[in-house]
Amino acid sequence: MPDRPSSKMVQPPLLAMQGVKKTFANGLLALDGITLTLPGDPQFLAVLGPSGCGKSTLLRIAANLDAPSEGSVDWPAFAGMGEQGSGLNLGYVFQEPTLMPWATIFDNVRLPLRIRGLSGSKVSDRVMEMLGRVGLRDFARSYPCELSGGMRMRASVARALVTEPRLLLMDEPFAALDEITRAKLERDLLGLWLSSRFTIVFVTHSVFEAVFLASRVIVMTPRPGRIAADLKIDAPYPRTEEYRTSTSYIAQCREVSEALALAMSEDHSCA
């Protein structure tokens, strides 16, 4: 379901997917006709769906790591920034922290800048500032194996944001963390998002996580993945822990859960 083009919109969209289908080499249809637009204005989009519904595939196509089998993908906001892929200024956070184990946290976070050929004290300052924002300033010289799972994920977020991207793609980043660490990281992610204003696409299979974080939730059907619902979450930011227990949060969770249940039931037709 594409967003209606608004006449007020001056910024070109960050991402425009039109009828995207993805079939894997083994014949598996992962995505079946995804049409999705990310407007130029910052938003927090949660992509919600069961395991194996093609959420990760969708994210990989959005990052230009995979090409769609059918349909088109475009990044209008990044047009004229060089070749696709190298010119896309976006961050990607994997399910695992995906840090280089042989490099310090500082070197890990510096990597995207280093690949772009940037160096010098300005880069060091930028890396240290980013580490400070995720609370890892004192761990710059540590190695990933010396850090807890939550801290490693913070380093991964810092690395994704160090290039100041306009689009941050996150693939179930907190799924492997414990409840307490996850809640803390969710709050901190919202803090980063509110202070920098970039767009996040956050893949999750948790209704509660989606409703707590996102301003917009896309519900996907089981394989093959289709967009079953595109919902707005109206609660204002900043969202605190009180929001988690508010009636509006619970009402939103119910609405999204119902949309998810409906999407799951669509499965019977093709199962």
Partner: protein, 257 residues
Amino acid sequence: MRIGFDTVAPFAVGALFIGVWQAAVQWYELPPYLLPSPLKIAETLVSDFPTLLPSWLFTLKITVLAFLAAAVGGLGLSLLLTSSRLLERSLFPYAVILQVTPIVAIAPLIIIWAKDTTLALLICAWIVAFFPVVSNTITGLNSTDPNLRDLFKLYGASKWQTMLWLRLPSALPYYLAGLRISGGLALIGAVVAEFVAGTGGTESGLAYRILESAYRLRIPRVFAALVLISVTGLAIFAALSLLSNRLLRHWHESSKA
């Protein structure tokens, strides 16, 4: 600091073994040309050291040079083979053939073909030593974390950057494991090739000393030469393990306590 039982254990085993050996030789009054006692071997090691030293140094020279050639050449060959799938597919089987061909079978040919014996010995030792480096390093270069590979792709890293900052560091533990195997094999290759080369050449290594002493029934000296070979092998292994631990201690499971 407390010295743990596991530190003492290998030495205890060694002492027990040598003790039983010494006792058995004395009890059964075995002549030295059948089985010399450990004490006799130690005596020979000291008294014959002036004869053994040049041979030891020669074998050491062949071993170290062959090992260095395997370490450098093996790495280069791995980089070459992994640079293209076609190259790897077409050349790797020949590396395997070289590896599985018994060195004793081809050493005489190499000794005939090579200009001087030292070079021939070097080639033989290198053939034995290079394969574990190549095999391990290729595995390492091809086993980078797929997510990290995607990350490098996402940021538009060049082939050179990906090699230098991702694939080489990922391959380092594998390379070092290959070196540890290769160090011992270089020594074996050097000794075996010397055996085949026999009396050729003016310089002669420990293997030649072993052959010569055996012909003259100077069995204690055979054992003394064997001791030197074993000590060399142990020292090479220890040095490479130390190097490996130094380089990997911050991040790799293999070098954590």
